[in-house]
């Protein structure tokens, strides 16, 4: 069973931990953002050309001769979308990566619901497999569990096609959490760019399986691609395996660098790491809960 009692206990614990972690640093339920208009004063910032003159704090200018813009808190609803890769590559090693992704999405979604965010889920491969429309309220968690348990993928990965469909279906912008192994024959750059340009705040959670990072096979083997079914006769030698490990590491570093340049938060997690640890890491990175 994917979401058993132990899992429920863990995500409840994660919720409590998230409260403790962010006390004093961030507000417990951050449902506002600082804008130049609003009701409740929040902060100042330096004037920048193009800002509305009406927002200038003339009293401060009179005292200090500095141009500062008054910022106010504006309440808004935050939508969090979890995009779960359901391609065949995620089914490697008896679907360990896919299970891990679903558990993690459920945990993050639960915390989002607890913070009165709007949470939506989407499974995709080269298309959208299934979707759960954005919803709110803690009571929806069981619907989420049911959706995730019934989510099954079987196809090639195509981020761009799937994300285009996602953006067209969800006009409301928010946070897009992508849980995938990024084993995509067509690449991931254009798809992530597309989300970025669509003004989604993107979180990339890269799920890897230790067995694919450190293959334990030797000798003459025929490698079969999980998604395409292509075959490659190969002789596994220590040298070849070492090169493969380097290539795998380079892939991860490339993805991480790409995300950093585009202000996307990147998390790499092996499936052997307890998912609650990586969830806390996501919290600590900040910005996930506003």
């Amino acid at each position: 069973m994917l979401f058993d009692d132990a899992f429920l206990k863990k995500i409840e614990y994660l919720y409590v931990m998230s409260k403790k972690v962010f006390t004093g640093k961030l507000r417990a339920e951050r449902k506002t953002r600082k804008v130049a208009s609003g009701i409740e004063f929040a902060d100042h910032r330096n004037y920048a050309p193009g800002d509305d003159f009406r927002a200038l704090d003339w009293r401060v200018f009179a005292r200090t001769e500095k141009l500062l813009i008054r910022l106010f808190e504006e309440k808004e609803d935050l939508s969090i979308y979890f995009l779960i890769d359901g391609s065949n590559s995620m089914m490697f090693n008896h679907g360990a990566k896919f299970d891990y992704a679903r558990r993690m999405a459920a945990a993050l979604g639960y915390i989002g619901l607890c913070n009165q965010d709007r949470v939506g889920f989407l499974g995709f491969d080269d298309k959208i497999i299934d979707r759960l429309p954005v919803t709110t309220g803690r009571g929806q968690i069981f619907n989420i569990f049911k959706f995730l348990e019934n989510l099954h993928g079987n196809g090639k990965t195509s981020f761009e096609d799937a994300f285009r469909a996602f953006c067209s279906q969800n006009q409301r912008r928010g946070v897009a959490v992508i849980l995938s192994d990024f084993q995509n024959p067509t690449g991931y750059e254009s798809a992530l760019n597309f989300l970025h340009y669509q003004q989604f705040e993107t979180y990339v959670i890269h799920i890897v399986d230790p067995e694919e990072c450190n293959p334990g096979v030797h000798g003459d083997v025929t490698l079969v691609d999980a998604e395409t079914g292509e075959q490659l006769d190969i002789t596994m030698t220590p040298k070849l395996i070492a090169n493969y490990k380097k290539a795998m590491e380079a892939l991860c570093l490339r993805l991480e660098a790409y995300c950093m340049t585009r202000h996307m938060l990147y998390f790499k997690t092996p499936v052997s790491t307890p998912f609650e640890d990586i969830v806390l890491t996501v919290f600590r990175a900040g910005g996930f809960l506003k």
Partner: protein, 665 residues
């Protein structure tokens, strides 16, 4: 090239099976496995070398050929090829196993076996196991006598093992000289003789090996057991009392070779008639138990008196009571056997009238079953009486016996003042004879004085050529004994009532002596025999051959008897029997060799000769393990093929496991 191992016809089926097995393993190895990966793109990127199919094919073919070559080499080894001019094939090993009494002692703490003989036998078995098919060996058991127990040189391991298993410690010493001489004679002319002596070194002789053994013979000794203390029974015997035939006294001597005083518990037990040796697992009637403390390095002699006999067979055993942590290493000298002659009340018939002195002397002794015939028939048939009684006394003292039929009699008799008509010897009447000489060495005259005997009238025996004189008067013999095949008698040539013998205490003693002599009884302990020597056993009846039952109940049949003596070599302590003669003969034999019991002396070590591995230290005690011996023995080529097979299998396994890793191919 000759092949001494398996024939090709024997090996072929095995080879085919192995080849098929290797082929299957080879096919399993080269079969490609399908491995699913999440994305093939990465692998494509890292595969830089182009695959050359002919290279793979060749590599696999070479691997298969290597496997087959290894298999062929193993088969060749199994056939044991040798050059035609190999003259070193046959080697002759003589294994001398010391089977003396001291080998029954416990082994050292590092020997991992209970006794020294067990260690020696184990090592001998190992030596035989390591023989090659071309090697020959002979097993020599060296105790008091030396014999090649396995017969001549042979390669049959089962026969050699059987011969080794039958060796057990004897209650004798070791005749090391004879053993080495036998080994030398057996290996005479052999190209590579090897002599191995397995012993505890408890022998006095230090033979000069170069004088005994051939020059080309390799000799090595392995010694078992460290010097240790011991307690041993040195002497043990038992004798009856003269007066009380049911009572006896025991002589016992024990020695302590430990470096501390030892308190011993001595147990005297009786053995049943069907037991020739002491079995500690059976219950035996305990006659007496004594405790004795023996000082270090000394012997103690004890005489235990007034013991009551329950059996004619007696065994003495000792057990250390104090110190309790002291272990007696040698069991063979903790037991001793002694036998008391059978005793039964002799049936005595006294034909006498009104001779109260004679009657009193007979009735005084409770050990006699006496009957009197005071009104004898006429004539007195001596033959009938001796047939019905053990001893017949014809007393012609008070009232004359005029008519005695002595024509056909056999048995035992005492003639007192015989009449001339029935006297066993011709007689002449004399008056007031004066005793001139008494044969005090005669059993009848022991412990008594007849020198001043006063006799009124006597019959002097005139001619006694086949008789033994007891008392002689100036006029002639007046007391004599005679022993023949059928008759045994004492003749007293005077009337008891016409002498002052009736007033002396010598009369009842004379009667006792006479009865004891006639019944072949004496108060001396029965003679026992020491093991490890040849015994001269007196046979009481005329026989040409006798069968002797040994303590272990095996029978040596047809032992010739010369001069009423049978000769036997005995090497086992216990009771021996000659049951098929009358009366049956039984005697005890004991280990009585202080050298075997003395385990505290340093073992004698003979120098190695032509030794490969131990020759550098000939005079130092051997401390190297038995592997050194094995090095000298015939090389264990019999097991080389097993070793070769294991190595080949290991190589194959390594090659198979590492094939895909490109370590070996």
């Amino acid at each position: 090239m000759i092949f001494n191992g398996y024939t090709p016809s024997t090996l072929l089926p095995v080879l085919l099976i192995c080849a098929a097995l290797i082929a299957i393993l080879y096919l399993l190895r080269v079969r490609r496995r399908a491995v699913q990966v999440s994305h093939l793109g990465l692998w494509r990127d890292v595969v830089t070398t182009s695959h050359r199919r002919w290279h793979d094919w060749l590599r696999r073919l070479i691997s298969f050929l290597i496997l087959m070559a290894v298999l062929g080499l193993i088969a060749l080894a199994l056939m044991d090829p040798r050059p035609n001019d190999d003259d070193t094939a046959t080697r002759h090993a003589v294994i001398i196993i010391d089977a003396s009494a001291s080998m029954a002692a416990s082994a050292g703490p590092d020997d991992h076996c209970a006794s020294r003989i067990e260690c020696a036998l184990n090592d001998a078995h190992q030596l035989v196991d390591h023989m090659t098919p071309n090697d020959r060996a002979v097993i020599i058991e060296a105790s008091g006598i030396v014999s090649a127990v396995s017969g001549p040189f042979q390669a049959d391991k089962s026969a050699l093992h059987k011969a080794i298993s039958q060796i057990h410690p004897r209650a004798t010493s070791t005749d090391i000289q004879k053993a080495l001489k036998l080994a030398a004679s057996l290996t005479h002319g052999s190209p590579k003789p090897e002599i191995i002596l397995l012993t505890d070194g408890q022998f006095d002789d230090t033979p000069a090996l170069h004088d005994i053994l051939p020059d080309n013979a390799a000799f090595q000794q392995k010694t078992y057991g460290p010097p240790t203390g011991n307690v041993a029974i040195e002497a043990f015997n038992v004798r009856r009392y003269i007066a009380n035939r049911l009572g006896f006294e025991v002589l016992f001597k024990v020695r302590n070779d430990f470096d501390v005083p030892v308190t011993l518990k001595i147990t005297l037990s009786g053995l049943a008639s069907d037991e020739n040796t002491f079995d500690p697992n059976r219950e035996h009637p305990v006659i007496a138990q004594k405790t004795i403390t023996v000082a270090s390095g000394s012997s103690e002699l004890r005489l235990y008196e007034n013991l009551t006999l329950t059996s004619s067979r007696m065994v003495a055993s000792i057990h250390i009571e104090d110190p309790q942590n002291l272990n007696d290493p040698m069991p063979l000298d903790d037991l001793a056997y002694a036998r008391i002659p059978d005793f039964s009340k002799p049936r005595i018939l006294a034909v006498t009238t009104d001779n109260l002195y004679l009657e009193a002397a007979l009735l005084l002794n409770e050990n006699y079953q006496v009957s009197f015939l005071r009104a004898p028939p006429s004539p007195v048939d001596l033959g009938t009486f001796t047939a019905q009684h053990d001893i017949v006394i014809l007393d012609n003292s008070s009232q004359k016996l005029h008519d005695v039929d002595t024509r056909a009699w056999s048995g035992k008799a005492i003639f007192i003042n015989p009449d001339q008509t029935w006297s066993p010897f011709p007689t002449k009447t004399v008056h007031n004879p004066i005793v001139e000489r008494v044969n005090t060495k005669h059993p009848v005259a022991r412990w008594i004085s007849l020198k001043n005997l006063n006799i009124t009238q006597a019959s002097v025996f005139k001619n006694i050529p086949n008789a033994d004189l007891v008392v002689r008067a100036i006029e002639g013999p007046i007391m004599a004994t005679h022993t023949s095949d059928t008759q045994k008698f004492l003749a007293i040539g005077f009337s008891l009532t016409q002498s002052d013998l009736i007033f002396r205490v010598a009369l009842p003693v004379l009667i006792i002596n006479a009865v004891d002599w006639l019944m072949n009884e004496n108060a001396e302990p029965q003679r026992g025999f020491p093991t490890g020597t040849s015994w001269h056993i007196p046979i009481p009846t005329r026989r040409t051959h006798v069968d002797i039952v040994h303590p272990d109940l095996h029978v040596t049949a047809g032992i010739p008897v010369h001069d009423d003596t049978a000769t036997l070599y005995g090497d086992t302590a216990g009771f021996y029997q000659i049951p098929d003669i009358h009366p049956p003969v039984e005697f005890a034999a004991n280990l009585n060799d202080p050298r075997e019991s003395c385990l505290s002396s340093t073992p004698t070590r003979l120098p190695d000769q032509n030794s490969v591995s131990l020759n550098d230290a000939p005079d130092t005690p051997q401390t190297s393990p038995f592997l050194a011996l094995l090095e000298k023995l015939p090389a264990s080529s019999q097991y080389l093929w097993v070793l070769a097979l294991l190595i080949a299998l290991a190589i194959l396994a390594i090659e198979w496991l590492t094939f895909h890793r490109r370590w070996t191919v």
